[in-house]
Structure formats: C-alpha cells, structure tokens
Symmetry: C2
Subunit: 307 residues, 2 copies
Amino acid sequence: MINKLVKKIEENKAPIVVGLDPMLSYIPEHIKDAAYKEYGETLAGAAEAIWQFNKGIIDATYDIIPAVKPQIAMYEQFGIEGLIAFKKTVDYCKEKDLVVIGDIKRGDIGSTSAAYATGHLGKVQVGSKSHYGFDEDFITVNPYLGSDGVLPFIDVCKEENKGLFILVKTSNPSSGEFQDKLVDGRPLYELVGEKVAEWGELHMGESYSYIGAVVGATYPEMGKILRKLMPKTYILVPGYGAQGGKAEDLVHYFNKDGLGAIVNSSRGIIAAYTQDAYKNYGPTAFADASRQAVIDMREDIMGALSK
Amino acid sequence: MINKLVKKIEENKAPIVVGLDPMLSYIPEHIKDAAYKEYGETLAGAAEAIWQFNKGIIDATYDIIPAVKPQIAMYEQFGIEGLIAFKKTVDYCKEKDLVVIGDIKRGDIGSTSAAYATGHLGKVQVGSKSHYGFDEDFITVNPYLGSDGVLPFIDVCKEENKGLFILVKTSNPSSGEFQDKLVDGRPLYELVGEKVAEWGELHMGESYSYIGAVVGATYPEMGKILRKLMPKTYILVPGYGAQGGKAEDLVHYFNKDGLGAIVNSSRGIIAAYTQDAYKNYGPTAFADASRQAVIDMREDIMGALSK
C-alpha cells in the first residue's frame, strides 16, 4: 500500500491528502435541508448530510489526488449513524481507487491494539468466516504506550500489506508540553522518531517503509531534523493552510527524490467555497471550489519544491 | 458523576470496576451457537453473542459493583455491528444504574478532541435539535498531545457533570519506553501526573476531581509516588489479576480515607468460568462464576486494605 501511495503521488504530481473532516458548519444549507427533510434533524440526518457532502467532494477531486484522510472523530460525534457515514466514505473512496488513511489515533496495550488493528486494517474471525470491519489502507497510531502497543498494528499491516502513520510531533500549539521534553538533552519526539524508523524496518516497501510518521507542518525546524532521523519513513504532514503551515516550510519534510512526505489539508479544501478566494463558486458549486483548491494547493507545494 | 462513583463504591464496599472486554474466545459456545443460528457467522452474529454475554454478566453482578468499563476496541473490531453492541451495553448498564467508564483512549488536536468529547460524553447539535452519541459517564483519554488536546474533553465534562481518566502510567510491559524517560531527573509519567492534578482543579467534585488518572497495577512503586502527587485524583487501576497486579500492591493507590482508587478486572471476572477456581460452574452458569469472582476480588482487595 505504501508503494501504491508513492505511485499515485508520482502520477498525480501531488503529494497531497484531502482531509475529509466534515463539520456540519462546512456543509451547504441545501445539502443539510435535503438530508433533514428525509431523516429529520436526527443523527441519521446529520450522517446523510455528511455523506452527500463527502461524495460531492470525492467525485470532484478523486482523479487529481492520491489519497484521502477521513478523521473518524468528526463521524464518531454522531454516534453509530456517524460511523456508518465514515464506513460509506471509506468504501466509496476505495471504489474510486483512492488510498484511504483513517485518522483514528488509536493505541492501547497489546491485546487491545490488536483488536483495533483487526477492526480498522484486518479481518476478524467469526466462527469459520472472517470479515473486514472498517478496512482502511493506513491508520494513524498514538505511540504513548510504547512498542507492545504498536507492534500488534504492524503485525496486521504485514498480513494485509497496509501501513501506519505514528504520531511523532503533532501540529497543535501545546504539542510541546510532553513531546518536546528533553531526555538526555534530546526532545522526546526525536526518540519517538527514531523508534518509528526502527519499527519501519520491520515492514519495508520498495523505497519507503509501510510505517510512516505524523509531523506537523507548524514545526518546520523539527520537521527538518526528523526527516534526517527517519530517511525511509513517509511523513504525513497536517497543519498546512488553516492551521498556519506554509508551502516553503514544507520543503524540508521531503527527501531529495521529491518524495517522503504527504501534506494534508482539510478545511482549506473541503470548505473552500466559504473562503474569500473561492466564494464566487457559491454553495451549490462547493465541490468545484474544492477541486480548484486542490489544484492551487498542488501548485503551491510543487512550486516550493521546485525552487 | 465522580460523586456518584464514590458513593456507589462506598455503598458496595467495592472499589471495583468490571471490564466488559468480551473476546469471542471467552463466550460460551451455547451463546455463540444461538447467535450464529440467528445471524450467521457474520459481524452481526458476533455482536449478538457479545451483547448476550455482556447482558448475562451485567444481570449477575450489577447489584454488587459500582461501575463497568467496556473497552471499545473489543467492539470496534467487529465494525459497525460491534459498535452497536457497545452502545447497547452502555445503555443497559446505565439502566441498571451502573457508572459507565468508556475505555476509548481518544486524544487529538483541539477541534478533534472536542468532537470525540461530544460523541462520547456530550450532545451534538443537528439543526435545532441535540442528541447524545454514545453517552458514557467517564472516558479514558491519551495525553500525548498536551493541554489543548485534553481541555476540550474537560469543557464537555463540566457541561455534563461527567469525568475522565487520563493515561499517566499504563500497565503494559513496554509502557516505560516513553513514559519512564527522565526529564530533568524525573520520569515523564510524573510530569503527566502533575498535569492531571492541575487539570483536575478545573472540575472538582465533593472530595475528588472529575478528572482522574490511569495508573497500572503492575507498577506499584510508581503508583505510590503518583498517589502523593495527585491527592484529589481518582486513580483507575488496570492490570489486577490476569496482567499480574496483586491486591497487596494496590494498597498504596488508595488514600487514607480508603478511597481514591478503583481497580479494574476484565478477563478475571468475565471469563471466570474458564479458570480452574470457577470451572465447576461450567459454561451455562458463566454469569454466576463472574458474580463469585467479583465477590472474591472484593474480599481480596478489601482484605488487603484493612491490613
């Protein structure tokens, strides 16, 4: 799956992932009205609105992007109905041959991590049959519990040819509170980064490992160091755009081969029509605005990379 | 909710939480057979078996325990159907007036943590209506992202009079890999513990904070230190029994008032009938075996505490 991700990034000349993190406030009124008319102002109504919104954006962008990253929390907040919309979104994106990175940030003790890995990446055994639960291609994982909380995910990745992105340095303002603490003179995130590189050797693809890392665009100096510490690790970079990360800051997240990083944008793409730059599209053409935002983001990043 | 938890612990003289972490291998064949007969060897069949198994255990123990802790991963591995069984379990436990600790170990950047908090503890707005998603009483939270990943959970807890248990020192063998790293001569988990105590002041109950901590039974020396660092923090203690934690090790997790800690047992209770000590019950009386295991666990812990 890492090989497929790299190939699709090269084909599309777009080291970009679209974050499918739908807030109801991003969804045009006509979509919400139609959904509430059918299901009422219920969890099912919200889930239908999210699904229709996602479908519009996927249909308008799938041919120019390699991957999507649905953030499961945005679905889980609507309970079971929301998770049904998450599953529909994952399935539809896979139908469109997109690589699906489930942003689920799970992580627990061994047997529990194994259950999460089974549910999101693998197959669960029921009597003599086995079934996929959510079936994403990659998921994000929290490393706070250490190796025995991470290795069960890697075991399932090996069986399924799937991958992980493990949190190393997150994009949020207070990520430094614990992640930047100095251990023998070096920040904790560097130790986690080294561990990710080590775990990565357990499951290598052609040029990169199936085991990637999350490093926020908002900390470019740290990104530069982590790039060198984890040369064969693909870096998933959140925080571009709305969170403040700029294209020129992202250059050092990439290797000399022009690969090694994939930049996420959520709000900047999916809610493009609400921004000044794209407001002429209007809410009915929200998906076209998203497509244009993808094209502009690609140009912004590829421009910075070619300098 | 922390006041209710303390009150129920005192009434039952049982600082015990039953971990509802059903593996299919724990479930008696007659329950699985009936479920597969109705739904086939499908995800729905597995979910039905889990639900019937849980219901049996809850019915047999609810009058002698204060709380349950369903581990969501064990449900999530069966996809949507599994999560429906999780929700049914939460709802049924609340009907039985049990305090429900959702062991979900979520944690993300601010807006995403807010969505998880909404989905698991609070109400989500859909048009003019608002709805609960999963509606647990407490949830477990991962602190790796720092304050702005934790505070949105506390905001919802304040609105709903609900609480958290934040991971400080986990029970698994490799928890020390990052959690024990020395920062200015002190292990990281102590820094996290101090932060939990600080966050706890934002949402105090009568004698304890709504914001608790998770500290594994498998590290009693660390538990002793953390108890002192977080005097008003309720400690959720996993790792008793099957993972190796013993009652005499747990004494220092409690305060002088005999309160301040609640000990989880999962496999030791729910799969009691598979163990030598309770095998005379047999699979059809699995729930009675669980009840006896609760009584024995209570005696073990209360005995150690009274020494």
